[in-house]
Structures are given as structure tokens and as C-alpha cells.
């Protein structure tokens, strides 16, 4: 993360206060100043921050913080409560028409990611809601925008309706809807061209499309890295089109995403989804409470837990535990475990989600090389079953073969074998420790 977390900053402030024995109103002011800076650095709009701070101050100056023995934590709690209230706490679902087809229109500035999001959202409703979508290419302005949607359609094996880039977008939308009805698609996505919210002629075009197809959802696509201008954009699009929701894109960047708060505050419309990667399945329902934590830099523990739950096979986990206990853990199991971890997504993402990770020295800017993991996998896969079960039999000539087979060097193989040995040794000690504890209450860790 590019910014120090609010928790870290408040900690600094509290250090100054600690000696005083009593927290004054001035101290609270100092603390809310830190909150203000954190929010501004997270790109929350200035006015939104101002209103927000006033609310926090009101509550913080009230008895609950001043009398508390841990004012720091109290302030964070107040801030988080207020943030969650502002962001909303419910996950907002897509509105589905009672009488199909459901019509969903995507709008936004240039480069926000409308076309890619259209593909992702269509993929999502097909997978999660069992829908049969039609994509309508109504961006006739940007070169190759239609081609882009068509390519996405091909990747997803989904039909795309287009009339070329000489047709009128309103006609395209209308005929697209007709086509959907004729072909019994129960959901239609209309991808519109990116435009500036101050471009009256282009905004009028959107109003005409909206009037022509009467969409169930008009979704504003917003780049999570947007700065202070997010409020102007959201306000204009909302006034012009009465949007029904927002999708936040590029949330996998190292941005705090304060734009989310700004957009919610000025439009009052829910953020429905977040796009979090380059792949077509990188779209998730938006969890407002988790976003609140992210903006403040408090880690996204819930997402992490959920990710882990979704990816780790419970059966396998139990089996692993047993193996660990009776020390029959082999290189094969090691490989298995690696695969499980990798299923959870890029390791950096996982680290970033853990609170306090910013504070751990050396971990702040840690970049985990996924290639390294691939090397380890390749090495283990190049071993024979006997070698995997009993690495002790791996002699020099076997090492040479393994290195050749995996495209690595003998040093790499040696390193892995040593790591595995150390790991086993450590496990043994841990097991011994728990056993020893029961028996004699003694530890046998080397440093004790």
C-alpha cells in the first residue's frame, strides 16, 4: 500500500497524548485531523470529508471517547461506524425484470472499463443467475470498441449484437432489444461509448437510449483510482440519467478507492460490484463495510477469510492436519498445499488484505515472485514418486536429472530440499512441543 494506514497515524497521535493522563477536546481535534488527512489521501472528496469529520467530531467529543481508557481505538471505531453507515452495509443485488428480458445499460467516462465490465457482468449473471445474455455494442465512436466487445463475446461464447460503427447508437440499442426478445435472451447488456459528463450532446444520446429501451439498471462504471472529480462525474451522470447503481473498476490497484465513498455520498446510489482483475471472472459483489476498512487502511480481513474458505478444500485440510501430526508429510503434500494457497489468488493480494501487514518491517513493500512458486512446483513434479516420498534418496545424479527436467539448477533443487527438511524439522519440534507440554511442561525449541 502506498499510504500508511490511518491506524498507524492515529497511533502516532496517541503517543503524544499518552503522557497527559486525560484526553482533551483539542486532542480529539488533532485526531480528527489525522482522519481527515487519511480520507483526503484516499481521494475521498473534500466536501464529503468535511461533512464526515463533523459527524465524527460530534460523536467523539461526546462522552464515549473522552472517558474511554483507549481513546485511540474508540476514535477508530467511531470512524468505522460512521463510514459503514455512509457506505451502507447491505450488499446490493442486480435488479432483474419480472418480465424478461432484463435490460442493463452501462455508462461512464472514457477508459473507466465499460466494455470489459460488460463482459464480466454478463459472465457473472450467466454463472450465478443462470441467465442467457445478449451483448449489444453501442459504442460507435472509439475505434475498434465493437471489435473489443465481439472478442469478449467470443471468449465467453456469448452472442454480440452490432450494426457496425456507422449506425445510430439509439437504433442499435432498440434493435438489440428486439433481437434479444426474438432470440429469447432473458438479459441484455448495452455497452455505450465513454463520454465526458459535460458533453451535453453525448449525454443527450444516453438519455435517448434510456428512453428507447427503458432499462432496469443504468449502471455508472467508475475507475476506483478517480480523484476529487469523482463527485462531479457521478453527480452529472446521476442527474442526467438517474442511475440505479455503480460498478467500481480497477479495484485491484493499490488505491484506497476513496472515490467509492464520494460517489455513494453524492448520488446515494449503491455500488453493486467491484472489478478486481484482468480476467473475465474478476468481478465480485461489492461489500460496503469492507470498503470502509480499505479506505482507512485497516485491512480486509473478511474478504481474506472468505477467499480462504472458498478455495481450501476442507477434506484436504483435515488430511493435511493428520499428516502433519504423524509426520508423514511428503513433497507431494507440499505441492498440494502450494496449489491450495495459489488458488486463493496472488499472494500479494492476500498479504495486503491482512491488517497490520503494513507495520511488519520488510513486508511493507514485499513482492512475492509467483515464478518462484512455479519453479518449486516444476522441481517437485520432476521427481519420481519414490523421490517425493523419500527425498533422502536423492543423490547427485538424481539432482542433476531433476534440475534438467524442471529447467532449474542443482542449487535450486538443493535449496528446495533443504527448505523441506527444515520445515519437517520444525514440525517435529512443534509436535514435540505440544507433547512435551502435556508431559513435563517443557519446551524444546532451540532458542529456549
Amino acid at each position: 500500500m502506498a499510504f500508511e494506514s490511518l491506524a498507524d497515524r492515529l497511533q502516532e497521535t496517541f503517543k503524544k497524548i499518552r503522557g497527559k493522563g486525560k484526553v482533551s477536546e483539542a486532542d480529539v481535534k488533532e485526531m480528527t485531523r489525522e482522519v481527515r488527512l487519511a480520507l483526503l489521501e484516499a481521494d475521498v472528496n473534500f466536501k464529503v470529508v468535511k461533512d464526515f469529520i463533523n459527524k465524527v467530531k460530534e460523536r467523539a467529543v461526546g462522552q464515549e471517547v473522552l472517558k474511554s481508557l483507549t481513546p485511540g481505538q474508540q476514535v477508530i471505531k467511531v470512524v468505522q461506524d460512521e463510514l459503514t453507515e455512509l457506505m451502507g452495509s447491505e450488499v446490493s443485488k442486480l435488479k432483474i425484470a419480472q418480465k424478461p428480458p432484463t435490460v442493463i445499460m452501462l455508462v461512464g467516462l472514457q477508459g473507466a472499463g465499460k466494455t470489459t465490465t460488460t463482459g464480466k457482468l454478463a459472465n457473472y449473471v450467466r454463472k450465478q443467475l443462470n441467465k442467457n445474455p445478449l451483448l449489444v455494442a453501442a459504442d460507435v465512436y472509439r475505434p475498434a470498441a465493437i471489435k473489443q466487445l465481439e472478442t469478449l463475446g467470443k471468449q465467453l461464447n456469448m452472442p454480440v449484437f452490432s450494426l457496425g460503427d456507422q449506425a445510430n447508437p439509439v437504433d442499435i440499442a432498440k434493435q438489440g432489444l428486439e433481437k434479444a426478445k426474438a432470440d429469447h435472451h432473458d438479459i441484455v447488456f448495452i455497452d455505450t461509448a465513454g463520454r465526458l459528463h459535460i458533453d451535453e450532446a453525448m449525454m443527450e444520446e444516453l438519455r435517448q437510449i434510456k428512453a428507447a429501451v427503458n432499462p432496469d439498471e443504468v449502471i455508472l462504471v467508475v475507475d476506483a483510482m478517480t480523484g476529487q472529480d469523482a463527485v462531479n462525474v457521478a453527480e452529472s451522470f446521476n442527474e442526467s440519467l438517474d442511475i440505479t447503481g455503480v460498478i467500481l473498476t480497477k479495484l485491484d490497484a493499490d488505491t484506497r478507492g476513496g472515490a467509492a465513498l464520494s460517489v455513494k455520498a453524492v448520488t446515494g446510489k449503491p455500488i453493486k460490484f467491484a472489478a478486481t482483475g484482468e480476467k473475465l471472472d474478476a468481478l465480485e459483489p461489492f461489500y460496503p463495510d469492507r470498503m470502509a476498512s480499505r479506505i482507512l487502511g485497516m485491512g480486509d480481513v473478511l474478504s481474506l477469510i472468505e477467499k480462504a474458505q472458498a478455495s481450501v478444500d476442507e477434506e484436504k485440510a483435515k488430511e493435511m492436519e493428520k499428516k502433519l501430526r504423524d509426520l508423514s508429510f511428503t513433497l507431494d503434500d507440499f505441492l498440494d498445499q502450494l496449489a491450495q494457497i495459489r488458488k486463493m489468488g496472488p499472494l500479494e493480494d492476500l498479504l495486503a488484505m491482512m491488517p497490520g501487514m503494513n507495520k511488519v518491517k520488510g513486508l511493507k513493500n514485499v513482492k512475492i515472485d509467483e515464478k518462484q512458486l512455479s519453479h518449486i512446483e516444476a522441481i517437485i513434479r520432476s521427481m519420481t514418486p519414490q523421490e517425493k516420498a523419500d527425498p533422502d534418496i536423492i543423490n547427485a545424479s538424481r539432482k542433476k536429472r531433476i534440475a534438467n527436467g524442471s529447467g532449474t539448477s542443482i542449487q535450486d533443487v538443493n535449496r528446495l530440499l533443504k527448505q523441506f527438511k527444515d520445515m519437517k524439522k520444525m514440525m517435529k519440534q512443534m509436535m514435540g512441543m505440544t507433547k512435551g507440554k502435556k508431559k513435563k511442561g517443557l519446551f524444546n525449541l532451540p532458542f529456549m
Binding site: A2, G111, A144, L196, M225, T226, Q228, D229
Partner: protein, 331 residues
Amino acid sequence: MSFFKKLKEKLAGQKESVTSKFKDGLSKTRHSVAQKVNNLVKRYRKVDEEFFEELEEILITADVGVHTVMDLIDELKDQARSRNIKETSELQDVIIEVLAKMLTKDEEETKLRLNPDGTTVILMVGVNGVGKTTTIGKLANRFKQEGKSVLLAAGDTFRAGAIDQLEVWGKRAGVDVIKHQEGSDPAAVIYDALQAAKSRKVDVLICDTAGRLQNKVNLMKELEKVKRVISREFPGAPHEVLLALDATTGQNALSQAKEFGKATDVTGIVLTKLDGTAKGGIVFAIRHELDLPVKFVTLGEGIDDIQPFDADAFVYGLFSEMMTEAGGDAE
């Protein structure tokens, strides 16, 4: 002589079109910032803490960034103290002077570095959706009109339709595009383009790359590789590594400039989409914290909607309203 007078004289020799383009594109910025400063000056007669707080607000709302704003405010406070300024109307000039000084350091550094004896290789990098491909189209057209031979390399092999998009721009500008299939190795496309540039002896080769978020390690490594391939084939190249930056981007722009800088030694910035309501204040923050010059700004969807960055014109556009008002004494 007042600051505005000096600026006006300096700009007098410039082509009207350049400044008016900036004025058009920046009219929103100008309205908001200049008007606010004006209002501010009118509202507060005295230079006091409250005045500075409001000024801070204006700059923050322009995405200048909290740290940069604080430094600016400190500097202004110092200036006000040392020049013994008590009335806000006097401070108006100082505000603009400080801002302009921050952007204008050396005029040479905002110019493109061209290779005098052979092909100039330009590498375009940036996150997704900032307008790299569009900017390349505009740049190609610009070079073409200067009478240079131009070749484009379709290095974005990842995003659907990116190659076609660059080809459309190539056609519009009347320049060739070297491409492979979607999904192929970008370094290989760039390699082929470099060979083609050599044999055709083109003046300028512009390499497109796929948009990538700066925190994706593997993708940034891929970019490093592309740059390595260029340097290996053309010693001294790339002569420019331009980072396309969306003017609507908030504080993350700094992180983008930092990380892309680490991976590819960015030499300059193209600030895109300045025709919206975004204030482009990140220019100050990037200059202040990373000392990276802005080389171009883009202001629309037309093929000629690109201008070399001119700090004077930028400031002129930003504050031209104030200039006419303050310029009353200049007539």
C-alpha cells in the same frame, strides 16, 4: 512589473492557437480554480489562518495532493511574512507565482528527446484505460505532419480489440502498424517492429503496450523485458518512455509514476483527458514529489487534440481570468 505582465509579454509571441487550445481545454479548470481564488480574495480581506485553510481546500479539490498542498501553503505563508503582505489582494500574485515556479524549471526538459542520428524510439506505458493507444495515434499524426516517417508497434497483445484500435489510428494518421496476433508475446512484436524500423530507416517508432496496474509484479516485469529488448536492439533507446496519466486520477497517480518509473525509467508524462472537469492538479504533486516533467497534454477525441506541455500556457490557461482582472493596472 507584476507577474501577469511578465507572463503576458512572454506569451505575446506565441501562436494564438496554442494558448486558445489550452484555454478551451482548461476552461473548466480555469473557472473553478481562478474563480475560487478570486472569490476567496474578495471574501477575506486579511491574510490569516482561515484564508489559508480555504486556499488549501481549493488546491486539494484540484487533486494536488495533501502533502504538496501543505508545502505550497507553507511556502506562501513564508512569502507573505517576508514580503510583509497583509491584504489578500496582494497575495493573489504570489499564489500564482509560486504555482508557476513549481511547474516551470527548465523548458528543455519538457521537450521530446529525439535521436539526432537515426530512429527515435518512444515507448508508451501506463495503467488500463488512460488513453495510451489514442495518444499514440495523436502523436503519430503529429510526427507525420512534421514530415517524419513513423512506424507503430502494436505491443498491446492482451486487451481485446487493442490491435484493431491502433490500426484504425494508424490509418487515420497514414502510418504503418507492425502487429502480431492477440495473445502473442509483446516483446516479440516490439522486436519485429525494431527490425522493421531499422530496415525502413524510419524517423520515429512508437511502441504501444498493454495497460497494466503498477502493482502487478509479473506484468511490470514483462514491461521491463520489452524495454530491455528495445535497448538491446537500439543502443540508447528508448529515447522517451512516456507515461500516460489520466487527469481524473487521484493520488494513485503518484504510485503509478513511481512504479512505472522503477520498471522503465519513465522520461516524461502525457496528461490525458484534460478536457473534462478534472483539474489536473496531480501535475503539481508529480513534479513536486518525483520531479517528472509533463511533456504533452491531450484535450479531446480528435486526432490533433494533443499539445506539447507548456507550463506557462498551462498556468496562463489556469489563471487567465484572474489575469484580465488583475491586469487592469497593466493596460
